[in-house]
């Protein structure tokens, strides 16, 4: 008994906080991995279809995004429910595509420009009319590398 009492001195046991930074760093890394940077807020609902023949987009800086879908609930009063196109962070029409592409191109050095890919994020329920118009506009602007964004299909 005597030895027992001796061990429990008056000193308050302290938990070491030396590893706290480790934990914080771990959390930081975790969130860094999981979050996807999105430079533009989506104003249309995009639920891309699924496919199997997928190619990964490698260099993010060489990709420009064109979103097509029905406006989100908050924008329906102004823009209706018909599928609309979003370039950058605003609703646009097909006529705005050349300028949009040109702006993106201007940011890149000349030797990288032929690698520019347009990623079309199009909702599955949209009809092909608007898609065909976009394709024509891209062809006219000589932007021929196109990636139809799709999720992975598991059979």
């Amino acid at each position: 008994m005597a030895t027992f009492e001796k061990k429990r001195g008056k000193a308050s046991p302290e938990v070491s906080t030396a590893s706290l930074p480790d934990i914080i760093f771990m959390l930081l890394f975790f969130f860094m991995m999981v979050t996807v940077m999105r430079d533009s807020e989506l104003k249309v609902d995009v639920n891309t279809p699924e496919a199997t023949e997928l190619t990964k987009l490698e260099k993010k800086s060489l990709v420009n995004y064109i979103f097509v879908g029905r406006p989100k609930v908050a924008y329906r009063d102004t823009y209706g429910t018909k599928p609309r196109m979003q370039l950058g962070d605003k609703f646009s029409t097909v006529a705005d595509i050349p300028l949009f592409l040109e702006k993106h191109k201007a940011k890149l050095p000349e030797n990288q420009r032929q690698g520019i890919t347009s990623s079309l994020k199009i909702d599955g329920t949209v009809t092909m009319g608007i898609v065909a118009d976009i394709k024509t506009a891209l062809r006219k602007a000589n932007q021929l590398k196109v990636n139809y964004s799709a999720g992975k299909r598991v059979d």
Partner: protein, 184 residues
């Protein structure tokens, strides 16, 4: 007893040495289990735009595999309706033509897949059909590379790929869509 010496205090500390190990374990666990949202899709190369109407090429109809998708998302392949699930195998058969049938492609290099849709076709259907056509070519290329080099196409070297590309070029032509259906 009244005074605590340093040795006593040392004994009361929780050993934090293994904390780092636990943290790393958690980190590795999350790294393994989370899938990072990736940007993937079906890569397509559009034909360049020209203002002149295309030349009226005389093409042997046996080499053209026409796939039509209407506004009701139905498939018409060479005048006959078909289910999307059967499209891949049928396309492979057309390109390869193992029995040298008179109504299928003379040679894989001459085969042309012509895809035409309506402005009212759903994008989902279009992409599924396109995906099946591309999958047919991927399968054929994989078969070819297995036969020649004993490995899948994606693991082949650049020179080997070029060799296969020469024998099995992907020719999927997209025609201007018709506009019979309703757009929404």
């Amino acid at each position: 007893m009244g005074k605590t010496n340093t040795r006593d205090r040392m004994k009361n500390e929780v050993n934090a040495g293994s904390m780092a190990d636990i943290a790393f374990l958690l980190l590795i666990f999350f790294l393994v289990t989370t899938t990072i949202a990736e940007d993937k899709g079906v890569l397509v190369r559009l034909p360049p735009w020209s203002n002149e109407p295309p030349e009226n090429l005389k093409m042997n109809t046996r080499n053209v595999y026409s796939v039509l998708v209407n506004a009701d998302d139905q498939l018409l392949v060479r005048g006959e309706s078909m289910k999307v699930e059967d499209l891949k195998e049928a396309t492979k058969l057309f390109i390869r033509n193992p029995r040298k049938e008179a109504n299928k492609a003379e040679d894989p290099t001459k085969a042309i897949i012509s895809l035409k849709n309506d402005r009212g076709t759903k994008y989902r259907t279009f992409l599924t059909v396109y995906n099946e056509l591309k999958a047919a070519y991927t399968d054929l290329r994989n078969d070819e590379s297995e036969k020649r080099f004993g490995k899948l196409y994606e693991y082949c070297s650049r020179a080997q790929r070029d060799e296969i590309k020469k024998v099995l070029p992907v020719v999927i032509s997209e025609a201007e869509p018709t506009s019979f259906g309703d757009e929404s």
